[in-house]
Amino acid sequence: MKRTKKAFTLIEIIVVSAISAVFITTVVMLLINFRKGYSKSEYSGILMQESALLIARIRTDLNNAVDKQIYSSENQLVFNAYNNTKGIVEPIVYSLEKTSQGHIITRKEGNEKARTIVKNNVASLTWQTKLDVYDTKPIPVKRLSIDFDILLEAPNVAEKNFRLKTSIFPARLNKQIN
């Protein structure tokens, strides 16, 4: 019997659809993974930016701090700093506040209105002022530092959070006390 090849055989069509099914599944899975990864990395970028901004802000303020009394409590960080534009010493207050959407961090300088620095994403935050004295020769060295432990969490993407543990050593204040 002679077969003229004018059309696909059933076997051929089955094989082709199997191959294309495998191929399409792979492509779709890749796309889904990409979308997931994108939203995750987008949020981790935002959270990283926010914590970097907060730390940089506090670091700059502490560089202008004039009084070695840095008061830190569970939800407030208060110190006196020199204001370059006004030419006076003003208290700077950072506070952790609870809102209906989540925790926020605000900054208040002197009599100005408190401004929000980190919005809603704060899961937990500790700031602790420390004064270490090292019994070195010939004179003991004192070191003032503020320990930070910040955990930021995206509102919807629960598995993605950003934790930053760091310490700030205000250089000018440390020069003063030594």
């Binding site: 090849k5 994108y38 090292y134 760091t166 310490s167």
Partner: protein, 143 residues
């Protein structure tokens, strides 16, 4: 005898293979965005670590800062150049190198140049290491 009226199975398999080979790099480009974010985060942490070490050195009295080159373990110990221990937080996981140089004017040390180099892993599974360098100067304010 084969009169070519349709596409043969071999042709389809070859075509699919070619298509996959072409599309693979395209999808790799998509996933690189994620990796870049990871790299940015690693660099941010290394930067923070460098600032942490630097701030501590700047904080101590000028005459306590000793010039020289120091390895990671010496930096962690701190006694050899700062006369007091260096406090570590995130810095613990990083390899650091520290160089302190004197800048002299007529035999007197007027500045100290501080160079902190942090080695870090850009992504979790990468074999290569990157480094981050931060430099600053401390002035001798005692005279």
């Amino acid at each position: 005898m084969n009169n070519k009226n349709g596409i043969s199975l071999i042709e389809i398999i070859v075509a699919t293979g070619l298509l996959a080979a072409v599309l693979a790099p395209v999808f790799l480009i998509f996933s690189s965005g994620n990796r870049n974010m990871e790299m940015t985060e690693a660099e941010f942490r290394a930067h923070n670590c460098a600032i942490e070490i630097m701030e501590q050195i700047i904080s101590i009295p000028y005459k306590h800062i000793k010039s020289g080159s120091y390895t990671s373990s010496e930096v962690k110990n701190g006694l050899s150049f700062a006369n007091s221990p260096i406090l570590y937080k995130i810095s613990e996981n990083y390899d650091s190198e520290l160089k302190i140089e004197d800048i002299k004017d007529s035999g007197k040390s007027i500045f100290k140049k501080i160079i902190v180099k942090i080695s870090y892993q850009p992504t979790k599974n990468s074999a290569i290491k990157r480094s981050f360098t931060l430099k600053t100067m401390v002035a001798n304010e005692t005279n």
